[in-house]
């Protein structure tokens, strides 16, 4: 099961090696050419013998995580966030840390020792540490050094009505959809890029787009979904199970209307449910791709992800299947020459 392997492997921004190795192994048999660029993004070329238009499919490999910045005399690890992590949700979570993937627990001062005023305020980053069971700084230092990363330990499990929970659905779900898609053959050149460092500023995608120079780009993402208690309709962003979320606008991209109309028409023609992403906040690799060189027509297809960036994220497996169906249907339409042009 690809989603299980992908979400359970470790890869915060800048440390995507483990995820990249997994994806490379999976993609190799179906690719004309597989290589890594200078920043670490994995580029998988298919259909190179075909004439254009050339399509880029991009999904980012990195997840949000933690970075070790110091070790206390007691052997506890001080850390900072890599990417957007809500520090209020960290206490008592288990993590794996360092090159040996040691188990650790995020600890803090016990609740009964907190002053009454202190209990009402969420714990700050400075009050949290990772406990790896070391007796001393010296002992901890044998296994850990500053600059090592930590990730959550959540196991992928399916649950409820066709849903699943894991860490890092953002964006391993995009990686999984891309990997499943590249096992199909298309009579156009399709380049799949598994990018690095998206969570800390869309850094990997720009150089990839510059190198690949596609005519069209589709970004696959896990995106915010807050369809839970206490949220009005206009705060939801997306709804779980309502189909792939098509981006209209976010902090870094105003999606080209022709691309949006193209995807909506394909969803309609193929009876694939979809929804529009109804929030400005957030961004994805399209923000970097669409401004590359003279501009690249780009769109984003996202899987709604509840509790995104938290240790336990939830998705609908129907949304995953429908996202892939939509992407494949779009590629088939492009094969037939029905792609948006200016």
């Amino acid at each position: 099961m690809l989603l299980k392997e992908l979400t359970e492997s470790s890869g915060p921004s800048g440390f995507e090696t483990e995820v990249r190795d997994l994806i490379r192994k999976e993609a190799q048999p179906y690719a004309d050419r597989v290589y890594t660029d200078a920043l670490g993004s994995l580029i998988v070329e298919t259909g190179v013998q075909h004439p254009g238009p050339k399509v880029l499919i991009a999904a980012h490999m990195d997840e949000v995580g933690l970075m070790i910045v110091g070790i206390t005399p007691e052997g506890l690890l001080r850390f900072r966030a890599i990417g957007g992590v809500d520090t209020r949700i960290l206490v008592a979570k288990s993590v794996r840390v360092g090159r040996d993937r040691l188990f650790g627990v995020i600890g803090s001062k016990a609740v009964h020792l907190q002053e009454s005023g202190e209990r009402d305020i969420p714990l700050k980053l400075e009050q949290l540490f990772i406990d790896i069971g070391a007796r001393s700084q010296e002992q901890a230092r044998k296994y850990i050094q500053e600059g090592d990363f930590a990730v959550f330990t959540t196991v992928y499990e399916e649950m409820g009505d066709g849903r699943a929970k894991a860490k890092s659905f953002d964006d391993r779900v995009g990686c999984a959809i891309a990997l499943d898609t590249l096992k199909q053959k298309f009579s156009i050149p399709v380049t799949y890029a598994f990018t690095v460092q998206e969570e800390i500023g869309l850094r990997g995608a720009g150089p990839v787009a510059y190198r690949v120079k596609p005519d069209l780009a589709f970004v696959l993402e896990g995106t915010v979904c807050s369809d839970v208690v206490g949220t009005p309709s206009h705060g939801e962003g997306t709804r779980l199970g309502a189909g792939p979320a098509l981006s209209v606008v976010d902090r870094k991209t105003i999606v080209d209307r022709r691309m949006l109309d193209f995807l909506m028409a394909i969803a309609h023609d193929n009876n694939i449910p979809y929804q529009l992403r109804r929030v400005l906040g957030g961004a994805n690799d399209a923000g970097a791709i669409h401004l590359t060189e003279m501009g690249i027509l780009s769109a984003a297809i996202s899987v709604p992800t509840r509790y995104i960036h938290a240790p336990s994220q939830e998705i609908s497996l129907d949304d995953v299947a429908h996202s892939q169906q939509l992407l494949v249907a779009a590629l088939r339409r492009i094969e037939q020459g029905g792609y948006p042009s200016i």
Partner: protein
């Protein structure tokens, strides 16, 4: 010039939806341009080649087409629209504002939830009332992703002062249109009317990459420092054409600034130096393109930029056109 401003202010041009503005500008420049085209992001390019041999150089002028707007993010069951800003708008300044949905032309009014705390007002507390009964009827006038712009148009305060909701972009476009029409240069002139400037010079970035000019001049408005308790900004309204020295995104090379200042002297017009540490312009995105592009700027002083009532002086705008003409004729 006044009627050109008035005309361009009747067109809605939210970021990413500049098509109407581009069409209006194209009608103005087509007659004098050798070539006119648009790109993926919606930038409009007008090219004027030199008569005869020419210098072989290319100079790019750039002015933004988009105005501050809001983008519809949700249509409630009751038909009220929710939105977020594209550009530098304050939520508190929008209560009661009249807006027009760009694509359909439908008018609406911005309302506020009564429970909202006005000291900490956010866009999530505001809504647009299109006076429709429910989501289905609202959908005929607005969809998620549509932009709405402010519906005020142009007013004349005296014989040389104009007020408008989108002068920030259209005043710059008008100056560029006039300068492009009148220009007589040995260089190839590429006038870029850019898209998505309000959300961070996105059109400018890809346009500069495409044109790869030898020299570029960004034409933009810039706030003035001549109102009560204003920030320390050098420009004054009515003080003449602004020659950019520095803004938030770039410092202009002294040689280019002097080249523009000399053009002002030659044209015998009043000029002032623009030092606006808070103001954005597209010059910053252009000069960082490719290997780096020598870039200067001409600034139109505007009071109350980023509000619904921006104020400009036609005499300043005319001066900006004359500086550009003199500059282009000397290349």
């Amino acid at each position: 010039m006044k009627e050109l401003i008035r005309g361009l202010l009747t067109v809605s041009g939210g970021s990413g939806n500049e098509g109407g503005v581009a069409a209006a500008i194209k009608a103005q420049v087509s007659g004098v341009a050798d070539e006119v085209f648009t790109d993926i992001l919606g930038n409009l390019f007008a090219i004027k080649r030199p008569k005869g041999a020419g210098s072989g150089k290319t100079v790019m002028l750039i002015a933004p087409m988009d105005e501050p707007s809001v983008v519809i993010t949700d249509i409630g069951e009751n038909g009220y629209l929710r939105f977020e800003p594209l550009g530098r708008l304050q939520a508190s300044a929008l209560i009661g504002a009249r807006v027009r949905v760009g694509r359909t032309g439908r008018l609406g009014v911005i309302g506020v939830e009564s429970k909202a705390d006005h000291a900490h007002l956010e866009f999530q507390h505001l809504f647009i009332d299109l006076r429709t009964a429910d989501a289905a009827s609202a959908a005929a006038y607005a969809q998620v992703g549509d932009t709405a712009t402010f519906a005020y148009g142009m007013e004349e305060l005296d014989d040389h002062t104009v007020i408008g909701h989108a002068l920030g972009s259209r005043a710059a476009c008008v100056v560029q249109i006039e300068a492009f029409k009148n220009a007589n240069s040995s260089a190839t002139i590429v006038a870029v009317f850019s898209s998505q400037a309000q959300v961070g010079s996105r059109g400018a970035q890809v346009a500069a990459y495409r044109i790869r000019p030898d020299l570029a001049v960004a034409i933009d408005i810039s706030p003035t420092g001549d109102t009560p308790e204003a920030k320390r900004i050098s420009l004054t309204l009515g003080g003449g054409a602004g020659i950019k020295a520095l803004d938030r995104d770039m410092v202009v090379a002294p040689a280019i600034r002097e080249q523009l200042s000399r053009a002002a002297v030659k044209a015998e017009i009043t000029a002032q130096i623009e030092v606006s540490p808070q103001a954005h312009s597209e010059a910053g995105a252009v000069f960082l393109s490719r290997e780096g592009i020598p870039t200067g700027g001409v600034a139109i002083p505007v009071r109350y930029a980023d509000t619904l009532s921006q104020m400009a002086d036609l005499r300043d705008m005319t001066a900006c056109v004359q500086v550009l003409e003199a500059f282009l004729s000397d290349l």
